[in-house]
Symmetry: C2
Subunit: 313 residues, 2 copies
């Protein structure tokens, strides 16, 4: 029943959700940071979380309440292996509440780690459902725009969350990403609360035009079209107030040649695409310097779009 390996160590990357024009339906992975999880055989039956390192936050060790545990639990149940003794050690290597998909990375890593320990009974793509379920331990919601790209890599379009229907979109060559994480706190519930539950029909028209063009730009590597399409007509203007100096930072990025600059997920992290690494570096340097001037500590991450997703280390 047990595979020969005694333990596996898995990495799952940080992600950027929403991606300007894909609120709740688009996300992509970057190379780092990310979370690591070790899964090993245990002596007692059932799944247990034995260790959580790298965070001051009190995360639940009950697997059913932990994003890394819940998806793995459901996977084991569906495989009829919930009585196997498996221990998870969680190594958080990215900040919570950063808007970079921390809980999603743990969910992706937990599911992949258990599947690897079992000798890969499911294909990676088949794990997406369990990773999404895992992430629902964080806030009860079913949404795959962080956790599926963390698991599978690339730019992921979630056509429909409830049916786990998603598409891995192509990534144009040479595209660079910079992510800026300012050390300020935005609660996801606050980020949701500032959003109106209504949008105008003209906003819908503008947003659908842009997301359709964004998808077309990925298939054609048309970076001019991509640049034009990355304009959010719905979310950014409502959430920008939660991030001090947002528009100043955005202007800095655009003046330096970034294709766009907007909020990553629910924030406070922000990201931009650039047509090469030099522009991405210059943007990251200039923006972190601006934040320092304003007395805000920040961190920057430079990466291509990660197309591999979570992997066994």
């Amino acid at each position: 029943m047990k595979s020969k390996q005694q333990a596996v160590r898995v990495f799952a990357p940080a992600t950027v959700a929403n991606v300007a024009v894909g609120y709740d339906i688009l996300g992509f992975a970057i190379d780092s940071p990310g979370d690591e999880i070790i899964a090993r055989w245990g002596d007692e039956p059932g799944l247990r979380i034995t260790k959580i390192k790298g965070t001051n936050k009190q995360l639940p060790k009950d697997p059913a309440k932990n994003t890394a545990g819940l998806g793995a639990l459901r996977l084991l149940q569906d495989l009829g292996k919930e009585d196997l003794g498996i221990e998870l050690e969680i190594y958080k290597k990215m900040p919570f509440g950063s808007g970079m998909g921390s809980s999603a990375a743990s969910a992706a890593a937990g599911v992949l780690a258990v599947n690897e320990l079992l000798g890969k009974p499911l294909q990676k793509r088949e794990l997406a459902k369990y990773a999404v379920i895992g992430e629902s331990a964080a806030d009860g919601a079913i949404h795959g725009d962080n956790v599926i790209p963390s698991l599978l890599g690339g730019i992921i379009l979630i056509r429909d969350n409830e049916s786990f229907d998603f598409v891995k979109l192509p990534v144009p060559r040479g595209l660079s990403v910079f992510v800026i994480y300012p050390e300020i706190e935005i609660l996801t519930k606050d980020a949701r609360a500032v959003l109106s539950d209504q949008v105008s029909l003209s906003q819908l028209i503008a947003q659908t035009g842009n997301i359709a063009a964004f998808v077309a730009s990925l298939y054609t590597s048309d970076l001019d079209l991509m640049r034009k399409s990355l304009q959010d007509h719905v979310i950014e203007s409502q959430r920008a107030q939660l991030i001090p100096h947002f528009y100043e930072l955005q202007q800095t990025a655009l003046e330096l040649g970034a294709m766009n600059y907007t909020i990553s997920g629910a924030g406070p992290s922000m990201f931009g695409f650039a047509q090469n690494t030099l522009i991405a570096e210059e943007c990251a340097t200039a923006i972190t310097a601006k934040l320092t001037d304003h007395g805000i500590v920040s961190h920057s991450y430079l990466s291509p779009i990660n197309t591999q997703g979570a992997y066994k280390m």
Copy 2:
């Protein structure tokens, strides 16, 4: 100054706008019906509409108030040739107010006819702007979702109407279209009036997920994804009331294997995609029969997606 040809005759096809998930931003052309326009050199300076055939509707002969004339006028102005004597004859070969882009076909044909008569000073693609201006003679609005596909063919995505920014999307092989035109009247202003000017955020999420997936399905010829994505969460439910028996007809089409069945433009025409011509034919036959049973005269049109657009005959 004048080209050698004394007259040109141009055809511009009917179009389906909105395309389920692309309200105001998507449209495609079919092979027929369509309008024809003859442009010939005239003796008096200026652009004149000398003949309008094929409609009982009193269309304005003032070029500035006619969709076929206004775009051509602006084209001539931009070329500095507004003093040339040019006569247009308009042959309407499709019904007005059908939801198949009748005024748009005339606008596309008018612009193309004048450009051809002049010896093609502009590329066809460059005429899109003038065709859009031409169509604005009908209702004052600037929208390219009928007129640009009528001019250029294919499935056209309008990223932004105001900047004339559009993308010609790929057409999967083998896709068939059936269009049903029931002889009932829906005024465009009524079709607009039934639409709420607000949509919910969850509708936005569903609609953006579907249009993004629809675009992806066109680039990958993934007809399963296309079928799933062609579900309108915003417009259809509001406009269906304007078309008697709409849901019965829709059910008939879906049961016969159509990929979708929804309203074309502002209606009353309806359309569906099918994976082959047999299914399209069966759908058209069954739906026109149902309408006959209900005492409604209807017409059906079978076509591939037309990728050529307007052309010189």
